[in-house]
């Protein structure tokens, strides 16, 4: 019971928060809501825990705050009790009448169960996760849970080059909170957190593509992620790359929801802001994501005037703000300067003008595309086949242009970080490039499926 309670409470908090923000009547498919809200709940719990912990609140008082917030949302949402866990009606007849859908559903369920099995077996083999998980995320969670009132001082004395003290605390904070509530350092907690992020990413991809297009396309989108061996390796390794990748995807999905409608959707934009903020609370790459997100939104000036765009950005920023305050406090008051930022100076220009560095990074990018995801067949061919069979559609309501630009700028951002890195370039590339690509992969699949040309335009969020 003590194992599931801290996680269930966070999931419920996330679910109710999303339900509250969404305006309950607009969503009938709880499958989408569950996949979106559970990881958001984990993020909110982590944020609440670290914020109040820094104000020296006792962890039980912080728990009470979480419970109080959950109860408040329950009271506010009393009217929608009937819509809780309302799943779209499952029709066996519909499946039997559509053999393609039936076959795809069977493969999807088989793949889901198999990946869950692989996740379980890998966790049995490595219950502490792989290197970064135990040496950084979980180790810091141990420090916070064992010294909840002076962990910032202890972080300050740690070997910052070895343990990356500047990394944001979403995963670390949530694990520490759960360990504190449980009273022990169970390896199940980081494993369950990793499971939630990995499988909610798949579920969110499936349910959002299903919403915008068809169930078969949603299943195929989810299957691509389920069939990518390296995605499950990333998941059960307990690294934070799936965490940040989930929040990239959630932000892009929510923005697409908001922008598919002709009128302004403040609540969706606020939620997109929260998920973007939580990406910065997950990993430093999230800060780059927020920067790229804002830049990419300016491409929407082709379709709307500046005043409309400013209104959208205002709500987006409003959602980000509470998270960014905590991120900024962590960065300014607790974390040392990031090693890459700290090393910049006289050598930066020399690196920027060193052609061989560009060549090295470009070669790694190309090589990464060639061996992506440890597939038996390079998956890019499959995407190419989809484009050849359907064509692409760029219109003002599907957000494909701004989202594509966002992903391209992110790749360019990663590229330039490698150019200026103070670390040995080959070592840095070999240890991180595959993970950076994977952070963007679920978002890429989403944008790709939305961009495919089809007879009917994508549905709008009512």
């Amino acid at each position: 019971m003590m194992l599931v309670f801290p996680i269930l409470l966070s999931c419920l908090l996330g679910y109710l928060t999303c339900l509250f923000i969404f305006e309950e009547r607009t969503l009938s498919d709880s499958r989408f809501l569950i996949n979106l809200s559970f990881p958001i709940g984990l993020g909110i719990s982590s944020l609440i825990f670290i914020s109040f912990n820094l104000l020296h609140f006792h962890y039980l008082l912080i728990l009470l705050i979480e419970i109080g917030l959950t109860a408040l949302l329950l009271v506010k949402l009393k009217k929608v009790k009937r819509s809780f866990f309302k799943f779209e009606h499952f029709s066996l007849n519909k499946l039997i009448l559509n053999p393609v859908l039936l076959f795809t559903t069977v493969i999807y369920l088989y793949s889901w169960l198999m990946d869950a099995g692989i996740f379980f077996f890998d966790t049995v083999k490595e219950p502490n996760g792989l290197w970064d998980a135990w040496a950084m995320w979980n180790m810091k969670a141990k420090v916070i849970s064992q010294a909840p009132y002076n962990w910032p001082d202890l972080f300050g004395q740690m070997n910052m080059d070895s343990f990356h003290i500047d990394y944001p605390l979403l995963q670390t904070g949530f694990i520490a909170r759960s360990w504190l509530l449980m009273g022990n350092e169970s390896t199940y907690i980081p494993a369950i957190v990793a499971f939630i992020f990995a499988f909610c990413t798949i579920g969110l991809l499936y349910s959002s593509i299903t919403f915008f297009t068809t169930k078969t396309e949603g299943l195929i989108a989810g299957l691509i992620l389920l069939c990518t061996p390296f995605f499950m390796i990333m998941g059960d390794s307990q690294y934070a790359d799936n965490t940040v990748g989930f929040f990239y995807l959630a932000t892009i999905v929510l923005l697409t929801f908001a922008q598919s409608h002709t009128s302004l959707k403040p609540r969706l934009l606020i939620l997109a802001g929260i998920t973007a903020g939580l990406s910065a609370w997950s990993k430093n790459e999230g800060i780059l994501f927020i920067t790229c997100l804002i830049i990419s939104q300016f491409t929407r000036l082709f379709f709307k005037n500046f005043r409309e765009l400013a209104a959208e950005l205002k709500y987006l920023f409003l959602g980000m703000l509470p998270v960014l305050i905590v991120v900024a406090y962590h960065k300014l008051a607790i974390a040392p300067t990031n090693d890459i930022i700290q090393a910049q100076g006289a050598t930066t220009w020399a690196k920027l003008t060193d052609y061989s560095r560009y060549e090295t990074v470009l070669n790694w990018y190309i090589a990464q595309f060639g061996t992506f995801g440890k597939w038996v067949l390079n998956p890019w061919w499959l995407f190419l086949i989809g484009i050849l069979a359907n064509g692409l559609s760029f219109n003002k309501n599907n957000g494909v242009i701004s989202n594509s630009i966002l992903l391209i700028i992110m790749l360019a951002g990663f590229f330039f970080i490698y150019i200026i890195t103070p670390l040995d370039l080959t070592f840095h590339l070999s240890s991180s490039i595959h993970r950076l690509f994977f952070q963007l992969f679920p978002s890429f699949i989403f944008v790709y499926f939305i961009a495919l040309k089809r007879k009917l335009p994508i549905k709008q969020f009512s």
Binding site: T104, S111, N128, W134, A147, L223
Partner: protein
Amino acid sequence: MYDTQYIFKQVRKILFVFLLCILVWQQWSTFSAHQDQFLAPVEFTRNNYGNDYISQYGKRFEEARNFFTKPTILQYVGEANEDPSSGTFHYYLAQYYLAPNIVLNRNTVCDAIIYNLYNSKQVDIATNFHLNNGWHIAKNFNNGIIILSK
């Protein structure tokens, strides 16, 4: 005359079936790599859970971790002449299992020194630098972990 719409539709169907075949092939390949685990899950779990190197390594540190009643700054000393990658690995593991104590692998002002002698197990009292410069053994756990204090 061929109906291009019809041909295009058939091509799309073929491509879709091809896509599903690739996905099934991929999943079959993934399954094959984990076949032993899927065929005997209980046995696999029983034989493997808790037996991984990281978990086993932690057992050496259980007593040492309980030795410190409050977070302590420790200077880390590994095996003499260990290769850098192995040394780093053991250092990280020591920090992981000793948290919230802070383990530093450099000369610095510290509350205690921890020796992690995973191979040699014992310090040479006669020649050890620290023991001959004001430090004494506060606790020897007889598993290669030795704590020195002033």
